[in-house]
Subunit: 157 residues, 4 copies
């Protein structure tokens, strides 16, 4: 999860790397599916490593969809689809920060999903850490984020 | 699309066959994802032919999910998720008939999606044909339903 | 519930009368809230009798809203909002018939809500009566529809 | 908007006062509609001043609904209904803070709705102020929150 049009270059580079690493782990990448920002970069990275990509689109049809989506789900629900993104993910990685991303992190905490924040947004780190001392984990690089996810998944079995 | 707990044996046998044929065509099967009725049978058929299966669940988690779902999408939206099922499908095949299935056929007509009715429910055939003379097509067997879909997809290119 | 742009003159006249009668009973009118067809006519009728009107809009904002809505609820969910219409109604009256209306009647049956059909659509009457022998009732006039609702509400207490 | 079971006594006292003041202004109160925390307190306050209350429930029926709701809207959408809460409000007042409330504040900023934070949660104040320098306003008392809303509404005309 991460910003669309408001994503920084660093966010997009991190997202591309995350998508690639997720695919290399054999995991399925799920994003908001649009052809902008973190969503587009993560899907492009995943496809570069032959991953499988699922996009939960806010729209009723393929307008504005990332070219790197294998399985598009058209919700026609705008930002209410953010809750579906979160519920359908085993772990949420927030790459960058913005209002939409913040809603997803908050909904993930509400749904007891583990969240990894890969962002240089200190107010966001402090705020979400204050909402949950257990579910929110901080990562400084894509590789570190993936390590956190691997440790979490290991702890589930 | 088709009934859950209210599905007949014929509906389930047809759904299994449909799932298998869909997989053999290399198409992705999308259903409501539950472990009952037409949904479960179609997914089981698709996995028997090594297909890829997507389930759009009404629930927030995996309770009641079919074992034959590869990609679960948890909506926590109950029957409002029927609109997502329809919007995310290129063609809708209704196998059997019931209130939930009827809502999906109606939403599909509303969204201008082609619908194939594989059902021995004459009132349903007459009603939906009266709502749209172009979008609703009738099939008597799974093989015939798949032929209709192939012809439709061919006409798109 | 009833058609928007596709509503007939009879549907709209019935809807206006229904809205008026609902208001005169002191009930709250809930519709899809748009400024077309049955929705607009019912709300206009209710306001003519000083009723309270709730509109569950498919949009994110007031574009296309009926002028006769007191309480607008903006869902930004397109036709997925039809399930909210039905769940939030004690009784559903379908005035006229079309694909959207059909989805609402089907979702109402699915949710065990009583449905009154005020429509001269014989295929629709036969189809929905075949889906539920108990929940679907037929009315020939707005006054008759209101009588059915009153009898139902009386039976609840 | 505000916490349910996690609400503090101060949050609930503020919410009761807010509900009362909103009703005294002749405004309609819209909340998440449950019989706990800030939602319940705000609705009780509004009814004490003869206000009109709308509840956007996460459930399919009246289980868990506040007794002080006049117009219940049953979404059966869980926390995805938070987006409807926000879109249907002209101004969002967040009373207290928690994961659900945070998702509503974030969705409100995303939807360009003005947000008043009435909370002693400094991390939340800093975070949301960092997301939007224009839409997020801070209030220390219910009366101050209402003043901010009045000024905003005046500026709209």
């Amino acid at each position: 999860m991460g910003p669309g049009t408001g994503a920084s270059e660093t966010d997009c580079a991190n997202a591309y790397e995350l998508g690639k690493l997720i695919a290399q782990e054999g995991w399925v990448l799920l994003t908001g599916g649009k052809n902008v920002g973190v969503m587009d970069a993560a899907n492009t990275g995943a496809k570069a490593a032959n991953g499988l990509t699922v996009g939960i689109l806010p729209t009723a049809d393929a307008s504005g969809i990332s070219n790197a989506i294998d399985i598009p789900i058209f919700t026609d629900m705008g930002n209410a689809r953010n809750n579906i993104n979160v519920l359908s993910s085993e772990v949420v990685i927030a790459c960058g920060m913005g209002a939409g991303t913040a809603s997803e992190v908050a909904l993930a905490i509400k749904a007891n999903k583990p969240v990894v924040l890969l962002t240089d947004h200190p107010e966001g780190q402090r705020f979400f850490s204050s909402l949950s001392t257990t579910a929110v984990l901080l990562a400084e690089t894509p590789v570190a984020a993936i390590e956190i996810v691997k440790n979490f998944l290991k702890s589930q079995f």
